[in-house]
Symmetry: C2
Subunit: 310 residues, 2 copies
């Protein structure tokens, strides 16, 4: 049996921990002895889920000894993965993001342009004839509902919906809204968090054509947790922008009940970028981005195009 460590990405968005646990379960059913790892502390949604489902929190690791066999799940970019990925034996990648990595040897990769990596893993279980336990099925379902914001996100595909439906019989969870809302509420509960931690709660940092840009997203059932602390958050964004030598920083507060995106922007250049890219006004550091709920599909591509040409 080959030992392998399964790793999720550095920046804790919702699906993180579950993805490593589910993929490790899959690999254990194949010909591996697989162990899930996380690269940092969990967000509140994931903490809530692990507690509710009574699942142990994986160990934290950001590097492994040279030559360790690893599997990456839900990410592939260098900036989001293990510190010493080049010393390791990368054997698997399962993901649904754009590609930005290279290897010196062939490996196993499964990527699909689909809302949730969970849906890809569900298909892989089916294809291999592996049984999906109630516990794994529940994690898969939570992960799909979280990724797709109860199917309201623009990234949702027909396949994600069909797979969630199929998971009903395994999980005996039939009321998706009832199952997902406490999970969404858990992640919305930001009142006791440090403003910098809120800005860092779920972000992607990119370098596009020499410009370093940072796009944070807060998906929340209660946008006032964030909007009510606007000044503190703008101060935190300013500090992060300076410390990380960013050219642009941006924080979307996505109301997942009412399906609206109100984004926070710093004065000056950043506001000009937002006005021009999203064709909107910026008033008191807030931009109404309306139904742009998906960072991957409705925010990043426009910013990428803008900074590529700049």
């Amino acid at each position: 049996m080959k030992q392998i460590n399964v790793v999720w990405h550095k920046i804790p968005d919702t699906d993180c921990t579950l993805s490593a646990i589910v993929f490790a379960d899959y690999l254990n059913k194949k010909w591996y002895e697989a162990k899930p790892y996380i690269q940092g502390e969990l967000n509140k949604e994931t903490e809530y889920l692990l507690e509710t489902l009574n699942i142990a929190k994986p160990e934290i690791a950001t590097s492994f000894p040279e030559g360790t066999r690893v599997a990456l799940v839900d990410h592939n970019e260098k900036s989001q993965t293990l510190d010493n990925i080049w010393d390791l034996d990368l054997e698997w990648v399962v993901d649904h993001h754009k590609v930005d990595f290279s290897t010196s040897a062939p490996l196993n990769i499964r990527m699909e342009a689909i809302c949730s990596t969970s849906s890809i893993l569900y298909k892989m279980y089916k294809e291999s004839g592996f049984e999906i336990s109630k516990e794994i099925g529940t994690m898969m379902l939570a992960w799909i509902l979280s990724d797709s914001l109860l199917f309201k996100s623009a990234t949702t595909t027909k396949e994600d919906v069909i797979i969630a439906e199929e998971l009903k019989s395994i999980t005996q969870i039939t009321d998706f809204e009832k199952f997902a809302m406490p999970m969404f509420d858990a992640k919305s509960d930001l009142w006791d968090m440090d403003p910098e931690d809120i800005v860092k709660y779920d972000y992607k940092e990119f370098e596009i054509n020499g410009h370093k840009i940072w796009v944070g997203t807060l998906e929340t059932t209660n946008p006032w947790y964030a909007l009510g602390r606007k000044n503190e958050l703008l101060e935190a964004m300013k500090r992060i922008k300076e410390k990380s030598s960013l050219n642009f920083i941006f924080l979307s507060v996505v109301d997942i009940i009412w399906m609206k995106n109100i984004s926070m922007v710093l004065d000056g250049d950043d506001s000009e970028v937002v006005k021009s890219v999203f064709d909107t006004e910026v008033t008191d550091n807030l931009a109404d981005l309306k139904m742009r709920l998906s960072r991957k599909k409705q925010i990043i591509p426009d910013l990428t195009e803008f900074f590529t040409k700049k």
Copy 2:
């Protein structure tokens, strides 16, 4: 129905044309209107197969209009793909090589560390519940036998062998050797070819740590087609090395009956590299590399290590 063009890589090794035809057939069964393309003239093995199986030769193209949807099969590296890949809408990659590309959007990727991309496609048909026609099955089988040199190559996996066995009932081909030998003979028939074309018959060019290296392979049932023309071929290698500003050039003549590799090397630096990397003598520009039949697994990794440290 989405239109998509399916493309194999620039340098014609054996599986090339078949891979584009088979993958286009798969995509047509999905939700595409797919058309196979090749990027240059065919080698003799492929010509023999298309003639024998009575299959039309795909059109040649090395670029497409901006925004054309494309699927790459059996390759992913920039140097081997369409000239204007960055203008195109890359939607699929099915391959079994190391990864060296990046994208600006998510896409569908299926890669496995397996001998033949044909085996991956076979699994994809099965997983999707698609029927494999006798014609497609025969192409798949030819492709597996060619990639694995009748299972003698070090890259052969248990899965490739099992899949070839499963293809017996679809193709009604049960004597693999009888089926594959005329195909191997066809590719061995080099007598009327220009020496430069022989050196370019099946090669990989890499840039490693600033060193441009070229590794050609002639898999043949009759090594004397090549060894008998040694001086002409060495002259051709010299010309190619100069024209392409290479730091190293190397041509393996792989006897697929007797499972031996005799490689041609130029005098000077190249001979020194071969001596040191493969721990062998070079006599009259020939190095006996013994059972190193797989370029991917038994030649490239050692050269990569050497030039990385140089």
